[in-house]
Subunit: 124 residues, 2 copies
């Protein structure tokens, strides 16, 4: 059975995993056959191992996440606004993002979509 | 051609239409065959006329919207966090929501999905 508390905990674990640069901890939040699209319109990553590799690469930028408002829980989804902070080419940068996590019945993420674009990138 | 400025303007017009309790102004943002799902998991509203009627009913609560962060623009989407403020059964109430607007090539909204649930309702 789905559990709203577990879905909130998954989002908090996602933020914490970036703080720890722990790609394995992020991958563990996903179902085996999950799909990640980050950002929307880019090639998707299929399966937990490809997803782990994608996050390991992202974390090389030192990216850290800050929640920027309450997590919205609706149907099978948790949706949340956040900012990404990273240091890249000698400067501090920020990206404003909203992610949608779709969960399966075991509260694992089956689909993640990250909404951000050029207008949401600051300091680049 | 799609225009990011028009998509931002559409979100701002959406907020302004609630401020003016103007369901026609909201409906005008939608394509003729648009679909609205608000909240996720509830029956959808198909077509501009059904959508207009849905918003006219919503506006009877006096609901006003406040943007709670930057609009994220990604691919065909504008996604934005906001709060809904309404006065209902003698009390002030707030709902925290994230909407996704998907646009067509004329920058009309073809699909709206509203992410909020019981955990996002305050004062009810």
């Amino acid at each position: 059975m789905s559990d709203p508390d577990k879905r909130i905990a998954a989002v908090e674990a996602y933020v914490a995993a970036f703080a720890a640069s722990d790609a394995d901890a992020v991958a563990a939040l996903y179902a085996e056959n999950a799909v990640v699209e980050d950002p929307i319109g880019s090639p998707t990553h299929h399966g937990r191992e490809a997803i782990r590799a994608f996050y390991a690469e992202s974390m090389k930028t030192g990216a850290k996440l800050t929640l920027e408002g309450p997590i919205r829980l609706a149907g099978d989804y948790a949706v949340f606004p956040f900012s990404v902070h990273l240091h890249y080419e000698g400067a501090d940068k920020r990206i404003d993002v909203i992610d949608t996590f779709k969960f399966d019945e075991n509260d694992l993420v089956t689909e993640m979509r990250a909404f951000w674009g050029q207008r949401n990138m600051h300091g680049f």
